[in-house]
């Protein structure tokens, strides 16, 4: 029976693919059997199911739909930068079938009504599962607490004041205690602003040379240390966002060894780029935490390999062109990443031998799904049919025209990367395919 990309039947077979499951990429070709949005079966070889349409996977890798645990879709409030619909398109194009959205919209996601609103907007777009993060404090102002139980009932999967650190340790402690009962993590953006000050980039050789205010590593390390100790004391689940320093890696490594309930993620730019990228004052490289030193970059990559860091999140932060053309010290922090995460991982981690492809895919699907207790993220019988077909060897050059996102502020513009998502399926339905 003839396959058509435009019309996806309710039941079909994807054959001639290398399945990627449980952190391992199969050496032999296999198949995936999809029925009514779920995985009916999967395995090696090619089954003969009479009358079931077949998609020839042409030797591509078939992996679980990717799961991103840190994205900002800017809706409501800054729709000129991104919307749930555009962000969902970007997610699908990057191979993602689920995203955890951040609370820092305008207004803030700090009540169950806002949580429901985001989930509804995601359903309307229909390209990606939207799992909202609720704020720790109303308006992210760092005082008082939001109704965590009500927001979890509405669909919130974690709590965080997004890129505003919870400066008050007592508030953080209470949030960890209350969310522990609800079974969801508190995500920390670990930054002690009394140490970091008004820094614009990593505090080191390049900030000194360029005359830009520096952000000391100690600002991240001290904040991670505080929150790890609060997690130890409360028994709550702490998830550390965008780890960028070797010191933070070491603190998390020791906490895990001691049995503290801490999980952690990093973003692709922290295992690939260092602070020398800021040398021409391009705000494309202005992110928070900042791009650090080569030994931090190496420590972050190694921490992914040894499991100290659990997953990779894009930290997708769209900013409009005008803002990214501001002078470095005036520009907002953040870079988009949904459409380059997988390829940056393949280029910088797999092709350099730090992770194999199976491990990388696990950091981008299975592990984050487990941490946040999300559907999808695994290829197994009975699971949601969220999956991607990808070619890890296909190279492409990142240009401003590459993106489905409304913004183009990528730290990888101009780079040639390896690894391309050719098709993304959500609940068995095609949400993206590469027209080339």
């Amino acid at each position: 029976m003839e396959w058509s990309w435009q019309r996806i039947p309710a039941e079909y077979l994807v054959t001639n693919v290398r399945l990627c499951r449980n952190g391992k990429l199969a050496k032999r070709k296999g198949f995936l059997h999809v029925r009514k949005g779920r995985i009916e079966g999967l395995g090696m070889g090619q089954p003969s199911l009479e009358g079931v349409p077949v998609l020839d996977g042409a030797g591509l890798v078939c992996a679980p739909g990717l799961v991103d645990t840190r994205v900002s879709f800017r809706e409501p409030g800054n729709e000129q930068m991104e919307t749930v619909a555009a962000g969902s398109r970007a997610a699908a194009a990057g191979g993602f079938t689920a995203v955890v959205t951040m609370s820092g919209t305008e207004p803030v996601i700090d009540n169950s009504g806002m949580v429901r609103y985001l989930i509804d907007r995601g359903r309307e777009a229909g390209l990606c599962r939207i799992h909202p993060t609720g704020a720790v404090s109303p308006g992210r102002l760092g005082e008082g607490m939001c109704e965590y139980g009500d927001m979890v009932a509405a669909g919130a999967v974690a709590f965080s004041d997004d890129d505003v650190p919870v400066a008050n340790g007592g508030l953080m402690s209470n949030a960890l205690k209350l969310t522990r009962v609800l079974g969801v993590p508190v995500i920390t953006h670990a930054e002690d602003r009394t140490i970091v000050g008004r820094g614009a980039m990593h505090g080191g050789y390049w900030s000194g040379r360029l005359g830009l205010a520096g952000m000391a590593r100690a600002g991240e390390d001290a904040a991670v240390f505080r929150d790890v100790e609060l997690a130890r004391a409360t028994g709550g689940h702490l998830h550390v966002a965008h780890v960028s320093t070797k010191g933070a890696v070491e603190i998390i490594r020791q906490a895990k060894a001691a049995g503290v309930q801490v999980t952690a993620e990093t973003a692709p730019h922290y295992f690939s780029l260092d602070h020398s990228r800021c040398r021409d004052f391009s705000p494309l490289y202005k992110v928070n935490p900042p791009l650090r030193e080569p030994d931090d970059v190496n420590a972050v990559a190694e921490a992914l390999a040894d499991g100290t860091l659990d997953n990779i999140a894009s930290d997708h932060m769209p900013n409009t062109g005008t803002e990214k053309e501001y002078q470095f010290d005036q520009a907002p922090f953040g870079a988009i990443g949904l459409e380059t995460s997988l390829a940056v991982g393949i280029t910088y981690l797999v092709n350099s031998g730090i992770l194999d492809l199976g491990q990388l895919i696990s950091c981008l699907s299975e592990k984050p799904a487990r941490i946040f207790d999300l559907p999808g993220g695994r290829l197994e019988e009975g699971a949601e049919a969220d999956f991607v077909l990808l070619d890890p060897d296909r190279t492409w050059t990142v240009t401003a025209d590459s993106f489905q996102s409304r913004s183009t502020n990528s730290a990888f513009l101009g780079e040639t990367l390896s690894g391309r998502v050719l098709a993304t399926f959500l609940r068995g339905r095609l949400t993206w395919h590469d027209a080339d």
Binding site: G203, G204, Y205, W206, S207, G208, R209, L210, G211, L212, G214, D280, F281, T322, E325, Y326, Q327, F328, D329, Q330
Partner: protein, 314 residues
Amino acid sequence: MILQSKDVLGLEDLTAEEILAVLDVAGRFRAVFDRPVRSVPIMRGRTVVNFFHEPSTRTRISFELAEKRLSADIINFAAATSSFSKGETLRDTAENLAAMKIDMLIVRHSSAGAARYLAKVLDCSVINAGDGAHEHPTQGLLDIMTMRQRLGDLRGKKVTIIGDITHSRVARSNLWGLVKLGAEVTLCGPPTMIPAGLDKLGATIEYDLHKAVADADVLNVLRIQLERHASKSFPGNREYNRMYGITGDVVRKLKPDAFIMHPGPMNRDVEIASEVADGPRQVILDQVANGVAVRMALIYLLSGGDPGALGGAA
């Protein structure tokens, strides 16, 4: 062409040969100053825009004087009176300037990298008149010119720069230029005012003022602005003066021929004692005069001026 780039954004970008060539031309202009008629009408009909996004008195006046002595048409464009203060982006401003077909842009901006950004998007020549704490190349050149007038070849000469290095574009431009010319540069100030990594550019870092100046040939004393940036990085003016102020006592222990520079404006009796500021060892007014000459030289060379033709003019 003497200068390879269309712009002068920092001494980081200039070679030692380019720096010396600019200073040679500046020396010829300097000779014109003592004549009754001090203008050299080689920029007639060309438009120079002075775009000062940050308050400046002496740098702006020095540039204006340099432009007038070269007979350029001058437009002054200051932040307080421009639409920039109403939220216009630097890119919008730049495009407006480009549409007006100007020949050269002099830019002072509070953001490091602003001059580089404008140079990238504009076809005309751009001279950086100070960008954040990054570079102030014309100040660096005039400081080096002043040093060379006293010391000749700077190879092996010891220059100590004292002050808030973290926030100083003057210090960075001095450092780039002096290291290229073979001088030995020491940076001195409180540990809270010296950023990491400048030793990798060839400087020696010394937190003890007395050690830093003991065998110096030149002290370049930076303006301290505790009220502005550094309120959290040092206890106050009194403590600064006590630990890092260039007092009469400090000067009396210097090598006999050592001299004192200051980019101005001075905080008397904070970073420099009045008796030093008015004393026989300072060369501050030479710096001011050299500033005009250096700026004339850059404008002349970036406009395609031939240094050989100056023989007659000078």
